[in-house]
Symmetry: C2
Subunit: 447 residues, 2 copies
């Protein structure tokens, strides 16, 4: 057996410059799609075989969409390109001196390297948070969250203790960025339209949805007008918003704030921060707080052929002294920019520096309720903002197939006020969660 194993990357030799891309998020995907394969050999690495449309992950988590609707099989996207090579594997390290990237399936020389590995959840060192709270960065995360939520309601149906039953229904969302706000809205709609019909034995008027934010307003990256509007929508929908609220601890059942306040909940979502994870081998001087410092050409400072785009990149400009916002648009635009300029750079031709075109920010709170900051200091709310949100998101989904599925799901949800994907098909997983094990283990079903 052992001698039969000959793991290899199996990338054909080439006379063209070879571009290796690490990560198939918005940045990597757009770089890969826009690099002409007659000029370059393009190699894409990712640990999944699909691209995740992250802005809609919360809809999978809240049972409005099925996972397949927001995932694009990567190999599908490159059926018509010849010198393109996707490999599903783990990238281990890079050696900038020898232009070598090392992976779980072997090493490869590159001419150009594009790092677009994105960001991961940042718990700011809070180990209990990491153990007990639910992250939302991947499709398995979203499926786990959906299953965990539904499982809690099933368990609550089987619990006779009024106190426990009441706080079993509570939801706590930490972080009122777009993800937190959109989840708060989605769960609030579930509570209003769906859950009372599903669980007649539970009293959902007792279910509390908390949205905690460390800053002094929701949607801190957006305009204060939009923040105020979103807050009004959420409060109307019965979401309890706590601003300037810092989380101190969570033991799987009780979350404690820095001011001493305690909230009981078995369902705590952590979307309060992300961090980059720099590939081993990248010199420390090139990085700052887990992100790779780049020049205005998306090139890692100190390197001539390594690029960083999207959340992993930190391009400090006058307009963006702390880098570009960690959303899809900068990643998409950087991906396209790098692809477009690589050929010129390769021939030592002059290229223009990257310029971010801010198309604005959107966040949806619920049916017919959204907020939009548009270029020209325009700040919209209500149905109009929601229609813009709908149009933009359907339009951005990577493949036609997904658009159809999303539309079918949403049309159904709109007409019926239902969310149809309330299946518990993942095992109940909160790693190391001994406490909830003792509460629930005897009734461990549904996986």
């Amino acid at each position: 057996m052992e001698q039969m194993r000959q793991i290899t990357l199996n990338i054909p030799p080439t006379t063209k410059p070879r571009v290796v891309i690490v990560g198939a998020g918005f940045g990597g995907l757009n770089a890969a799609k826009n690099l002409p394969d007659d000029k370059f050999q393009v190699v894409l690495f990712d640990k999944h075989n699909y691209h995740t449309f992250q802005p809609l992950l919360y809809q999978v988590a809240s049972a409005a969409l099925q996972p397949d609707a927001i995932a694009g099989p990567l190999r599908n996207l490159f059926h018509n390109t010849k010198d393109f090579h996707f490999r599903m594997l783990r990238v281990l390290s890079v050696d900038p001196l020898t232009n070598t990237i090392n992976t779980s399936a072997g090493s490869l020389q590159y001419d150009y390297l594009i790092l677009s590995s994105g960001a991961k959840t940042n718990y700011f060192g809070n180990e209990n948070m990491q153990r007990f709270a639910l992250p939302l960065k991947t499709i398995p995360d979203a499926l786990n969250m959906r299953s965990h939520l539904m499982q809690i309601f099933e368990w609550a149906s089987l619990n006779a203790n009024p106190a426990l039953k009441e706080h079993m229904l509570n939801i706590v969302l930490v972080g009122a960025g777009p993800t937190g706000v959109e989840m708060a809205g989605a769960f609030s709609e579930l509570r209003r339209y769906v859950l009372p019909k599903d669980y007649p034995v539970l009293d959902f008027s007792k279910m509390k949805i908390y949205l905690l934010e460390g800053m002094d307003r929701v949607l801190p990256p957006m305009h204060p007008k939009s923040s105020a509007r979103a807050q009004r929508y959420l409060e109307k929908m019965g979401v309890i918003i706590k601003l300037n609220a810092m989380v101190q601890d969570y033991d799987g059942e009780t979350i404690t704030l820095k001011n001493g306040e305690q909230i009981k909940s078995f369902f705590v979502v952590w979307s309060a921060g992300v961090m980059g994870e720099v590939l081993p081998g990248i010199p420390k001087e090139w990085t700052e707080r887990g992100r790779i410092l780049t020049d205005p050409f998306c090139r890692a400072i100190g390197s001539s052929n390594i690029f960083a785009i999207g959340d992993i990149a930190l391009m400090k400009l006058e307009d963006y002294p702390r880098g570009h916002p960690g959303v899809a648009q900068p990643a998409i635009q950087m991906g396209k920019y790098v692809a477009k300029n690589l050929f010129a750079l390769h021939r030592n031709e002059t290229v223009k520096p990257f310029k971010y075109f801010d198309k604005g920010s959107l966040a949806t709170v619920g049916r017919g309720k959204a907020v939009a900051d548009l270029p020209g200091d325009i700040h919209l709310g209500g149905r109009l903002a929601w229609l813009i949100w709908l149009f933009v998101h359907v339009n951005f989904l990577v493949s036609f197939r997904n658009k159809l599925l999303v539309l079918a799901n949403w049309a159904w949800n709109l007409f019926t006020f239902d969310k149809g994907n309330r299946l518990i098909i993942r095992p109940y997983i909160r790693k190391g969660d001994e406490k909830s094990k003792t509460v629930f283990a005897e009734n461990q079903v549904g996986s």
Copy 2:
């Protein structure tokens, strides 16, 4: 914590007769839907919160359908019934003397008990088969199978050893009943239309699909004409059929037949047998080979108020000396029958014995290729049989929502020759599979 836990079934007391149904498959679901809740209190137990449309599981496994399309959330189905109570839990045992059913959430008295827990995979004591082969009874099974298949292709792309690479692509399906035949067809279409585009580095002309059957023809329960026709279709599609082939062993890499022949494969599906699993507490005299013997009224012999329907039931009639076929129709008809007759039985009124109306059998092999045995000794093939199959399956899907999703998926597949659900979103699981761990573990990604 401990004292806070008061697990209870939480079923309201009632003056109406209480019917407890164990299992929400075709039998249990149809019984539950047809029991009037003004005459009975209906309690339904299942370990999942959804009904699985088992005849289409192979389509999830072969990436043609997403799991949500063939699963109906159970609570959804009973929004408009008042004295209906679904509980997600494990049923532990029954005490026929005291009319008590014991579950992971407590015990409950019943007036009538309907056992419809279905069948589980039968490995006939072959422990290695159980360890290494993939079953297909549940949606998690189907998702695991789909992920495992796609993961094998990703791994094969990273393997340089020609011998290993070649046999890594092989698929072995054990059992040529409808599931085996339908999977063989589905995988053969994947091999022809989809995989070569996804994996240009792999040579799919070397990929072999084996269909092994212990009897002397495929689709043994169907008419010999249909068996011959299905075999012809499959062979034309390049499926290697081995009849009278008994499996002896499988070590995770090599499957050995009783005649000594060996086939190498990392992907072996076991659909060669099912068995019932009788609930502890049911007297042994009431059972035969894991099934509950019933009288012609679906009543467990020896009991006046316990019924068994579907795969778990064994009603020996002159026409069906070994019981009814283990497919959806007998379960559905028994479920409706029991529901209809329970009120009469309760009032000691005369009821007619159960009579199975054989609507015929269908199996699809691929695009425009199916076989159908219809009442009146009619045996169809080709496009007509396939249209019947399509109509019947869409029509039987439990909820409107699912019908829409299935249609959207199938329309896409038909027009594009694509199967769009090739995502690896489940961890790679073959329990206790040490050998493939050593082959693949270094590259464990995609989960």
